[in-house]
Symmetry: C2
Subunit: 287 residues, 2 copies
């Protein structure tokens, strides 16, 4: 009946590595260590939790249901620990007037962002705002692990859970396609129609890990590249209305009847005490 050891972040990092690689050897390599200590660490973790986290197969390790839970919760915990570390460092090095880090999806909501930044800069107590443009889906992660203080996110695409948010703007989505295309004269269209045009397969965006989903469409991660390909008649893309301001010649737009409305929100981590974040949010909600 000895004292129950507490979970250490090192164990969580080991566990997530093994879970992600589904292979002790590869995980060990990724962690820069040998395989046996990693095996032992995982075994000890399972013993301590009283839970089988993996089923050992001849091909490697696969997660049990409990393992899935620990992977999800553990990732959140690790992000929170990282955030604690980063925010402390930043609080220490920038005494007082620390710049606020705002992250947004590259190429989206540009006019809204411009308005927000201009309006905030005009505030009497405004602090410096560092804008970090990141690839889609990464903004929420940056907010979770402390790399950013505040983010511009889009519902229902981004995962807002766990953040405090204010809605800024809700809009419909449209299909952007080449100007000359037969369907470009349609008054409206459904999402299924829009994404199943035979000669205009929708582009594929990278997952968070950098891999691409399967499909016929082009692999892309940049909005301007996509628009160029649309102009060339190779693909068509569904975008929020406000992205129309970016459009130039050679592109046509068809409203979508049944696409989910997109809400642009400003999000920040719970319990934020940064006056800069508070000011930005206050300004944003008045736009």
């Amino acid at each position: 009946m000895d004292v129950v050891e507490n979970l250490e972040t090192r164990e969580l990092r080991y566990f997530t590595a093994v879970a992600e690689e589904a292979h002790v050897g590869r995980a060990a390599e990724r962690l820069g260590m040998a395989q046996p200590p990693l095996s032992r660490a995982v075994a000890r973790l399972e013993r301590r939790l009283g839970a089988d986290l993996f089923v050992r197969t001849p091909r490697g390790m696969t997660l049990t249901a409990a393992g899935e839970v620990l992977l999800r919760e553990g990732r959140a915990a690790l992000a929170q620990v990282e955030a604690a570390e980063r925010r402390t460092r930043r609080a220490a090095e920038a005494r007082g007037r620390a710049p606020v880090v705002l992250t947004a999806k590259a190429g989206a909501s540009s006019e809204l962002m411009a308005k927000l930044l201009a309006a905030y800069a005009a505030e009497p107590d405004a602090v410096e705002v560092e804008v970090v443009l990141s690839s889609p889906g990464h903004q929420a992660l940056m907010l979770r692990d402390g790399r950013a203080d505040v983010a511009i996110l889009h519902r229902p695409f981004d995962d807002l859970s766990g953040f405090d948010t204010d809605e800024l703007l809700t809009e419909n989505q449209v299909l952007v396609l080449p100007a000359g295309h037969p369907l470009s004269t349609r008054a409206s269209m459904s999402v299924v129609e829009a994404t199943s045009i035979p000669d205009l397969p929708p582009p594929r965006w990278p997952h968070l890990d950098g891999t691409y989903p399967d499909g016929p469409g082009p692999e892309l991660s940049d909005l301007t590249q996509v628009l160029q390909l649309v102009r060339l008649g190779r693909t068509a893309i569904v975008l929020p209305e406000s992205a129309q301001v970016n459009l130039r010649d050679g592109l046509a737009v068809v409203p979508l009847t049944d696409a989910p409305r997109v809400t642009t929100v400003i999000a920040w981590p719970p319990h934020s005490t940064s006056p800069g974040v508070a000011g930005l949010v206050r300004t944003a909600s008045r736009l």
Copy 2:
């Protein structure tokens, strides 16, 4: 230029202990260890973060601004790690039909809870619901560290940040006072009036750490005790309207004109995958 060590939960626990005690010796005692290793651990943490976390005074240690940040963020991180541990254990021991733990403030929203539990139990895929009544303010903590899966909380009193929520009910607040009291015939009243009746000082509730605020009113932590004292003409209390169903003889009620409206919400941790939680929330939103 060696590799940057990562923050371990043990260090966070040490840090929070010292921060809370403002005294290395007492913190060491609380942690069941000697003082010197704790001093060293704190010093190493400060070196690694490149941040002064404490200012050493002859009387003990007090937090710097960076230290305040780490205390707040670190507590959240520790709660998240604990939650990961607990939820994994629970997922392992109860394969499949795990009971859902619902926590609520003792004595509040009783009819709403009863309706909710009855309605949910009637669902075809309902799982067992374990109800944990806890003292005010503790429900959010239990949700954060994994002791509960879902909670009934009250805005603006509970800290909802970081949770997903659904609003269930919004209501006004009323003053409950002894039936014979001169003010009991008033048609309405303001909050300042209600809380500054000379012969009926408002009761004092314990803080989360168990201590009581200063003041003339009685120290209480239980609603029925409070109502009894009201009946005896010793105090008066502000409550949501729905608490009136608990009232019996000897009590009078006066509506408050400017009290904040109280919203009862059902809250659950982000990324919850529990079907039981989903079912409860679905049921609750249909009430």
